[in-house]
């Protein structure tokens, strides 16, 4: 929700960036995993899954999410439709 000031200057008020930056940094502190390591994990997961099924790389989303103080790795990996290939 942007305030009048935000729209006027095109800048986000600082509390919002504080919260967003903290959300990321806390995930990394709690899991002891850097952004780079998370990227590597993401690539590995995708590579393994792609060996078995055809995935749509555009829609892939693999992220650490938090629920209270618990972290979980959430993967949303859309599969390419097989029916299309069969009918075509």
């Amino acid at each position: 929700m942007g305030s009048f000031f935000d729209r006027f200057t095109g800048r986000t008020r600082s509390a919002k960036s504080a919260k967003e930056r903290l959300q990321l940094v806390l995930i990394h502190d709690r899991t002891d995993m850097t952004q780079v390591e998370l990227e590597a994990l993401r690539d590995d997961i995708l590579a393994v899954i792609s060996r078995h099924v055809d995935v749509d790389p555009e829609g892939v989303r693999i992220d650490v999410e938090h629920e209270g103080r618990e972290q979980r790795l959430v993967a949303d990996i859309p599969l390419r439709s097989v029916t299309r290939r069969r009918s075509g």
């Binding site: 509390a15 504080a18 919260k19 903290l22 959300q23």
Partner: protein, 265 residues
């Protein structure tokens, strides 16, 4: 009756641990409880000056632990409240003078003397912090609505989880309601959302805190101080009472008051 031992810690320095200990202690003692504070910051003694007791020190925590005095001799009685005591930190440079098991023994001895033991933890996550939490039944983590303080609080909460201690409660200190309203400070809700532990108090930024520290007289004794009220509320919540959180958002704002009067808020 056996005392409850509560440690106040933060990770980051300068967020208000010592002030919080002094004020919560004063608030508990003015409710009639017997309270003993322990300054756990060996080498950097400070709780004595905040409580205005610096001229009364004879013995300190290391003297008790090493048997140079009896427990009661190291418990300095407060000027105003007859059942409030302080065990000061030693000013020695040797931080290994106290171990976690020493703290457990000291805590156990104090359980029979008072109703509450409040331990002021040093900043950091090393020996002094380990000592401060060793005997605790409950830990209060204090933070400011600011990125580095929140990050360090999260580290400390993680360490307490790893020790399998009872889940700590959170004090958000030095919240500036005007900055929150202008979206230039994390709100209490934001901090709570990030740290995800139970909230026990929100203390607004308040000049009377510094005035009280200057005088060595914690502002929890002053009925007109808003921060003092917030600390009194924390003490009451620790004693098991349900106290609503202060309405900080609308304070001081002319328009907010008009809106409230007009019944729109």
């Amino acid at each position: 009756m056996s005392a409850k031992i509560v440690t106040i810690t933060s990770g980051k320095g300068g967020v208000g641990k010592t002030t919080a200990v002094a004020n919560i202690a004063v608030a508990l003692a003015s409710n009639g409880a017997r309270v003993c504070c322990i300054d756990g910051d060996i080498g950097l003694r400070n709780l004595d000056v905040v409580m205005g007791l610096e001229n009364r020190i004879v013995y300190d925590i290391v003297d008790v632990i090493e048997g140079r005095c009896r427990l009661r001799q190291a418990m300095i009685r407060d000027k105003r409240l007859p059942e409030l005591y302080l065990i000061p930190a030693a000013q020695t440079r040797d931080k290994s003078a106290v171990s976690p098991s020493d703290m457990v023994r000291l805590g156990d001895e104090l359980r029979n003397e008072v109703d509450w033991v409040l331990i002021d933890s040093p900043a950091g996550i090393e020996r002094g912090f380990r000592n401060a939490i060793a005997a605790a039944d409950q830990v209060l983590v204090i933070t400011n609505p600011e990125v580095s303080a929140v990050r360090d609080a999260d580290r400390v909460i993680g360490l307490l989880e790893a020790e399998e201690m009872a889940s700590p409660s959170l004090i958000i200190n030095r919240l500036n309601p005007n900055m929150v309203k202008n979206h230039d400070m994390l709100s209490a809700e934001d901090v709570l959302d990030l740290l995800a532990i139970r909230l026990i108090g929100v203390v607004p930024e308040d000049e009377t805190v510094i005035v009280g520290t200057n005088r060595g007289s914690p502002i929890a004794l002053e009925m007109k101080s808003i921060a003092g009220q917030a600390f009194r509320n924390i003490a009451q919540r620790m004693q098991g009472q349900e106290v609503p959180f202060l309405d900080l958002d609308n304070r001081g704002s002319f328009w907010a008051r008009i809106q409230r009067i007009a019944g729109r808020k």
